[in-house]
Amino acid sequence: MSERKIDSLLDQLNEIILGNPLATKLSAICLLARGHLLIEDIPGVGKTTLSHALATLFGLPFKRVQFTSDLLPTDIIGMTIYDVDTKKFKFKKGPMFTSTLLADEINRATPKTQSALLQAMEEQQVSIEGQQIALPDPFFVIATQNPLEQSGTFPLPESQLDRFLMRISLGYPDSEFERQLLKNEHGKNTDYQSVFEPGEVTQLIAQVGEVHVSDAIIDYLQSLLAQTRSSGQFVNGLSPRAGLQWLQAARALAFIERRDSVMPEDIKLLAQYTAAHRLHCNDGSDASTALNTIIDQTEIL
């Protein structure tokens, strides 16, 4: 039942984001795998549209924060204010208390603000004056980063990049789709309805966890992880967290494709999106190329 729903969700999503079925699929995978998404792209290619549509279709509350250099942690987390009526201090929740948060241009904020967000991403809770306050479940962050304008920005350090399950870019649409877009053939379709009832998404996420992972898959993934560490091409190899997230994403992919077990293709397909952004070549060359080499040299049998 919910599988059908996933299909219709993706279909609708692909009607909103034209000609990029992979990006829409990946973002759905990211959400189902309890990961966070980093979109690295220039403005105006539909990042906000994607995240808004994703949140709406999944039936999750959505908030958007534009990150700027003067943004403070409290601006996103919230703050404690004095309530005159009750004569008590009361915590006023910030925009972070939502299920889907779009952190636009995250690299414009100061590291302090960035890390407040990143800590929440990792722990799914925030600490206010020694108190732990849990964030909604699921908690899904889509952060965007503009790779071109680097002046006056604070690019996310490598350790922070590891917090994101995936990094994708949307890219320019095909001429055909852009034409459709320009001609406004399908209009600015904003009247879409959520596909899922509240609470259904958590069930879906639980089902993703049940996707079977055979020993052969573990062996394959492990040998890939080991090679990123031992090849000597990278500053650091992939962390165990990277491995866990990669596998979880593969589960989600298999789930979306209505399979009950992970196939090696899933692992291979996701490598570019779940692993490449965590790796940095020693000689400054492209990490995804080096990663592809490793994949090409690892036998699947």
Binding site: H212, A216, D219, S261, M263, P264, K268, I295, D296, I300
Partner: protein, 831 residues
């Protein structure tokens, strides 16, 4: 920092297992060394085992010390010193039991296991038969298993430890075999003094012959030697194996006179070269002997040996070796049936006529009677022989005791005896008659092993006969033959068989013998088993135990290392040995590749079938991805291919346990048919050759001929695409000619060949589609039958999303082209 030794306590069961292993070593000691020392070891073992069973503490140190002192004293007493192999192994066995008595920690038990391994290897100094090897191997397996059990901090089941033990041995085996062949076999006794370890000479041929004692050998079924003849072996009654010659008589017993130093020196000088053999007119009987361990200095050779390879031939034809060797030894012999060799040497006549005993009254009368009849030595021999033959002399294994005048009593009263009685009596009689005579002791006959085609001679085959000097030559006379023919003709085993059945006394000599000579049923089967085992032992001795330095040199020569001298050989052997050890060490260091599972091996076999048709799975290609690609390349078998790859994916990555066996059989049954694009499923008859429309402006057809072109042009075809490679069959229209014909009739012509039996070229589908798109309609594509053209068209159209696979198959089906078989490939194109 070395890791600290393990410090876990051993369970009682482990201790009892260790205890029983030690018991085996102690009991085996009875078979090797002094039973008194073995008993002492057994006593110590009992003490400790009792302590283990009753869960008591070890005895005080003073008790252990006492046992130690006792052990040392006993070894000194029984062996007269420390030297010698027996003293050594006794010392080892006592060491094991005493260590066992005092052991309390893990370290002690480790030491015991190592000592037990030492004992096991030392036992080869005493026995190296096949049986020993089997027993010792089993023992070593158990000791190694014990080591595993002891060193494991957790409880290790016995079966698991045995498995590990076998594993360990299997790893060591290649190196062991290599070292066996190549490690230098230095001859020598390694400091042991063999003189202290005289073999049990009671069990061998004695150097003296005492009446009544020799018969004991009849029950000694220990193996003496095995002989293999180059040709077929002579009959049993001619197999007189000469070992030693006895010339000194004293009161009915005989003694060997050891050769003096001068005699030996002279014999050595006389040692003939083998070349001389060829000068002899008669062809000798040639054979090789593998002799069991023996301390006897006289070597058995078939009468009459000529130029023996090993040992020195003495004047009396016996062969003497001045050094005793340890263990099994082999030599070759050449013998003549009769003593044709001219005796150039005078005999010591006086010595050969001397007797200590003197004839008593009855004997004197007999001798006088014979002397009156004849003076001719030949007739005297015949008279004596006939005397035994005609007076009911009996051949028996337990002759009556001869008390005062042995010869007299034997000749006139008891008239029963073993071969020594007859030989001894006959020889003495001859000497008294003035005919030089002597006794020869050796073996007669032996059991023929028909499995290995050799003769097995045991100590029970020991025999004594006489030789008399007549007309300047020695003649063999076997007086036993006068008393019993069975022994001579069929061998001792046959005689023993009758003897055991008690038939001899009953006078029914026949049935048991016939039964023995031609056994039936169970007995024949038992005989075959016995002979097979004997043959195994023989081959073992011949090839393994007897593998010595010379054999090693020969092996090396065959491998191309011709040895100039011993040092050179040694150096080569050493370096090869060291090198192989190093290689072995490094080989052990190489990490082992993960072993492939059953399903993976089957999948590899599946991939192998594609390799023959130039389709390879790239390293990182997943089974599914390969399946899709292979299905496109071999569309006719697409369903089968996808089925196999799907099953494999399910086995490897799937959730449910799939049936590996059915997958394996599917792989086994799968045969790649390289003819799939030759579309042999349709016969291109006249009907098929006609053009068939797939769509309004696309047609397919079979092979075109020259005559078809005007017609095609007439029917309005604008473009022709040829998908059939040139030269697929004889008489096929070449594409270049076809092009000219097409152009002549105003049609465009494209040549896009699809080669049968090979993977689909990646660009072909795209090329076909773009050609189609850019061409003037209507278009006709053709191959042999139209299958390939329809397939290419469908692939392109499906990929473009113009039609579904179902539609394509239906459209082709309407035109009579069976595309169904490529359904999986076409469907794969859909997504």
């Amino acid at each position: 920092m070395p890791t600290p030794p393990p410090a876990h306590a051993l369970g009682r069961r482990t201790l009892l297992l260790l205890s029983s292993t030690i018991l085996v070593a102690v009991l085996a000691h009875y078979a090797i060394a002094s039973p008194y020392i073995a008993s002492l070891a057994l006593l110590v073992w009992c003490l400790k085992t009792g302590l283990i069973i009753t869960n008591k503490k070890n005895p005080p140190i003073i008790v252990i010390m006492l046992f130690t002192v006792l052990s040392i004293l006993m070894i000194l007493w029984f062996y007269g010193g420390w030297n010698g192999q027996k003293a050594g192994i006794s010392f080892l066995v006592l060491l094991v039991t005493l260590k066992f008595l005092e052991s309390a920690t893990l370290r002690d038990y480790f030491v015991i296991c190592l000592l037990l391994l030492f004992v096991a290897s030392a036992s080869f100094l005493f026995h190296n038969t096949l049986t020993t090897i089997l027993i010792v191997s089993a023992f070593v397996v158990v000791v190694l298993a014990l080591l595993f059990i002891i060193s494991s901090p957790t409880k290790l089941p016995f079966s698991a430890s045995i498995k590990q033990s076998f594993n360990l041995i299997a790893r060591a085996l290649p190196l062991a075999v290599l070292l066996f062949f190549l490690f230098p076999r230095i001859q020598g006794n390694f400091g042991f003094i063999p003189s202290q370890d005289r073999l049990d000479s009671n069990r061998e041929l004695s150097n003296s012959l005492v009446a009544g004692e020799f018969a004991n050998q009849a029950f000694n079924d220990r193996l003496a030697f095995r002989a293999e003849f180059d040709g077929s072996p002579p009959v049993k009654s001619r197999l007189y194996w000469r070992s030693k010659v006895m010339t000194e008589e004293s009161f009915f017993s005989w003694k060997v006179q050891a050769p003096s130093a001068t005699e030996l020196r002279l014999a050595k000088l006389r040692k003939r070269s083998p070349n001389e053999l060829r000068n002899n007119q008669q062809e000798p009987i040639r054979y090789s002997i593998v002799h069991e361990n023996s301390a006897d200095q006289y070597l058995p050779y078939l009468d009459y040996a000529y130029a023996p390879e090993v040992g020195i031939q003495l004047d009396d034809h016996s062969v003497f070796k001045d050094q005793t060797t340890n263990g099994i030894f082999a030599y070759r012999g050449a013998s003549y049936d009769s003593p044709t060799v001219v005796e150039g040497l005078p005999i010591n006549r006086a010595k050969l006529l001397t007797t200590r005993s003197t004839p008593k009254a009855r004997t004197s009368a007999l001798l006088g009677k014979w002397r009156r009849e004849t003076r001719d030595p030949r007739q005297l021999v015949q008279l004596a022989f006939d005397y035994f033959k005609n007076n009911d002399f009996e051949y028996t294994l337990d002759p009556a005791e001869l008390i005062e005048n042995p010869l007299d009593e034997f000749l006139f009263d008891t008239r029963e005896g073993y071969c020594e009685h007859y030989a001894s009596a006959f020889t003495t009689l001859m000497r008294w008659q003035g005919v030089p005579a002597r006794i020869v002791v050796g073996y007669l006959g032996g059991e023929t092993n028909s499995v290995g085609n050799f003769v097995e001679v045991k100590y029970l085959d020991a025999h004594a006969w006489s030789e008399v000097w007549i007309d300047g030559a020695w003649h063999r006379v076997d007086p036993t033959a006068a008393a019993n023919q069975t022994r001579i003709e069929h061998g001792m085993e046959a005689f023993l068989n009758i003897w055991e059945q008690g038939e001899l006394a009953n006078g029914r000599d026949g049935t048991a013998l016939a039964d023995f000579l031609d056994p039936s049923g169970l007995r024949r089967a038992l005989n075959t088993i016995k002979q097979s085992w004997g043959n195994l032992g023989y081959q073992w001795n011949k090839w393994v135990v007897n593998y010595d330095f010379n054999a090693q040199k020969e092996l090396l020569a065959q491998l191309g290392f011709e040895s100039r001298n011993t040092v050179y050989t040694l150096v080569i052997l050493m370096s090869v040995g060291l090198l192989s050890m190093m290689l072995f060490y490094f080989w052990q260091l190489i990490p082992k590749a993960a072993r492939l599972g059953e399903s993976q091996q089957a999948f590899l076999r599946f991939l192998q079938k594609f390799k023959r048709h130039d389709l390879f799975k790239s390293l990182s290609e997943s089974p599914n991805e390969f399946g899709v690609r292979a299905a496109i390349a071999f569309p006719e078998q697409a369903l089968e291919i996808r089925d196999i790859t799907d099953r494999y994916s399910q086995i490897r990555y799937g959730k449910e346990n799939s049936n590996i066996d059915s997958f394996k059989s599917a792989v086994k049954q799968f045969k790649l048919k390289p003819t799939k694009y030759k579309d042999q499923s349709i016969e291109p008859d006249a009907e098929n050759k006609k053009m068939k429309n797939i769509t309004d402006d696309f047609y397919v057809a079979g092979q075109l001929t020259e005559n078809d072109f005007p017609e095609l042009a007439k029917s309005g075809i604008k473009t022709i695409i040829n998908n059939r490679p040139d030269g697929e069959e004889a008489g096929q229209l070449e594409s270049s000619e076809a092009r000219q014909l097409a152009e002549k009739h105003g049609m465009d012509y494209h040549y896009l060949p699809m080669v049968g039996g090979q993977p689909l070229p990646p660009m072909l589908v795209d090329d076909f589609k773009s050609t189609l798109d850019e061409s003037q309609r209507p278009v006709l594509a053709h191959c042999r039958s139209g299958w390939r053209s329809s397939f290419l068209w469908s692939m392109g159209q499906i990929a473009a999303g113009n039609i579904s696979a179902d539609d394509a198959i239906k459209a082709a089906g309407n035109a009579g082209i069976p595309l169904e078989q490529a359904r999986a490939t076409l469907e794969a194109q859909q997504s």
